[in-house]
Symmetry: C2
Subunit: 361 residues, 2 copies
């Protein structure tokens, strides 16, 4: 690994001159600058950003804390963060905490030792104190898909509105007994979706009945299990809103086994628009969250704050969008080709032209 000293020796100038020549700061004769550049190239020189960072207190590295990149929700968010970071010259260190606070603490220790310029949290159970410690130490933090009672920037999608849209859709189809399978009630996302469910009922003049609400845990198995409970309710509901797609898939499988037709006997709507929801039979009506945008905006906020630490914190709220497919509406099968085109267009920004491509496997 060559240093500016070696380049300086070869070029017959001082190291400082090499530094200014390569960085374009200060006065260096154009011809000399070119010669120095050529020498640097020929030596395969790469500036040592450690030394640079040591001096100017910027590492151009960010931390990204997620519970588990394997969970279908996070890759899109991570991609959004990473894209924006990269175009701004930042690198991103990935941290999987599994929702484990000890692990989270260990990662944060590492990130602080590495002197990252900021951290994006996309984890449903953040330790507020961890975030606060970071902020106290002067490390900017942005929360994505999560609100917390801490004074910092955040981006999230409007869960109340998303759930409202889903349930209003079912009600507009004429359903009057709409059940809901919620997520763990200690999660704000789950709470908000339940709230949206209630609002929709209320606005359509339908009384809220606790008997129609079952608590799941966001896993497929809970959807499968609770679907059986659902059928026992008398009078039986004609529609279900599941607080996420995984549980909706569980419901779907369970109903299929029981010989209940979807959507004819039971309409079903999920939440998240995970890829899964496009291949089930029937395809799942669901609420799409702007996952990529969430990550991208989070990163933009973070980079903005790094240069303006005193700015007032921003809270960005994105709009979810109802995607009507087959599990809620009785109609002829849509053309696959049309769907494919729609999907491609819609997700172009999100994942680049490599989307849905199985390459590398």
């Amino acid at each position: 690994m060559p240093t500016i000293y070696e380049i300086a020796k070869l070029a017959g100038v001082s190291p400082a001159t090499v530094s200014r020549a390569l960085n374009g700061t200060g006065y260096v004769r154009a011809e000399l600058r070119e010669r120095i550049r050529a020498i640097a190239d020929s030596m395969d020189y790469h500036p040592n950003s450690l030394a640079r960072s040591l001096l100017n207190k910027r590492t151009y590295t960010l931390g990204l804390v997620v519970p588990d990149i394997t969970n279908p929700f996070f890759p899109a968010v991570a991609r959004g963060v990473e894209d924006v970071a990269h175009t701004n010259g930042y690198g991103v260190i990935l941290c999987n905490t599994d929702g484990n606070l000890q692990k989270e603490a260990k990662y944060l220790k590492m990130l602080r030792s590495k002197r990252v310029d900021g951290v994006v949290f996309t984890t449903s159970r953040v330790q507020a104190s961890h975030v606060q410690d970071l902020l106290n130490a002067g490390v900017p933090v942005v929360l994505a898909d999560r609100r917390l009672d801490v004074r910092c920037d955040s981006v999230s999608a409007d869960n109340v509105d998303g759930a409202y849209q889903a349930v209003a859709h079912l009600l507009s189809l004429g359903h009057t007994r709409v059940a809901m399978i919620t997520g763990p009630t200690n999660l704000t996302t789950a709470q908000e979706r339940l709230e949206g469910y209630k609002q929709a009922l209320c606005e359509h003049g339908i009384a809220f009945s606790p008997r129609l609400v079952l608590e799941g845990d966001f896993r497929q198995e809970s959807g499968y299990r609770l679907a059986r409970e659902l059928l026992k309710i008398d009078p039986r509901p004609t529609a279900v809103f599941a607080a996420n797609d995984l549980m909706a898939v569980g419901v779907l499988m369970s109903l299929e086994e029981q010989g209940i037709r979807v959507p004819e006997d039971m309409a079903l709507v999920g939440y998240d628009d995970v890829v899964l929801s496009r291949v089930t039979r029937p395809r799942l009506t669901t609420v799409a969250q702007p996952k990529y945008e969430m990550g991208a905006i989070a990163c933009e906020l973070l980079i903005g704050r790094i240069s303006h630490p005193e700015k007032e914190p921003e809270k960005v709220l994105l709009k979810p969008r109802l995607v009507v497919r087959e599990s809620s509406v009785v109609r002829e099968v849509e053309q696959m080709s049309r769907l494919a085109i729609t999907r491609k267009t819609r997700r172009t920004r999100a994942t680049g032209d490599n989307n849905g491509n199985g390459q590398g496997t």
Copy 2:
């Protein structure tokens, strides 16, 4: 951000003593060490790894280059890499290249500036010269799921064997006209899977017929399109092997539209065991690759090499495993609960207890 100087001043000792006290190197009176530790804690001290790295030439940071973390294949690999890295005290910088060589070059420049200790490549179209440049500069590289004519460590799954298992399975069910939908023929993974197909036919005494091989591009749409072509072949094949799950899903949808029953009229096997393959109707028989292990082993190899740069390169070849579900075999519907349990057990190591959990959405 406090430094050892400030701690030293408070403790009334020299910075060097603080360094030794905190690192446990050299002699420091036990009582003094404790006092220094206490002071460091109270100041929320985090050692500056930049300064440390500058000196001992180890950053404890690795680079991970993938085409697109959004592609369902890579999160599991990334998780494997990250887990092993973390338990060894390393951080991982994520790089999405989209298969774009310019982007790849830019990322590598960044990684070298940050002086990462090594790089894992999991990209189907790596630029051999990029890898070679890295190796020449003394930066260890490990290739995951990709062999390349370069002298370095690598891990991959045996694609020939995987395809062989898939086709042998179909043949053993009595099929004699088995078609194949391949991936892009310029990708080694696709070539190897075609080779496995041929071997299976050969060993079962069935002549290879080029007319039964259609070239797809690993995307769902190509499976959808080519399934129609398949039906035109005379005599019509009774089984298809698709080189990945996405294309298999396309085939499935297409056949469904044409009223062809799977597996009764046409058996189908995919490749990759993506989550999708568990929710289609019928569920997809497929070849599972040990994705997590691939990442984990890649990272182990890398960390090994960092401490032993002169070791002979290792080429690890993992075994894929055929997962028989419903798209190939005519039988009663399996119990959902049994499947759920199996899945959970099998993937425990891969994703921790958070697997399949929709939290944070």
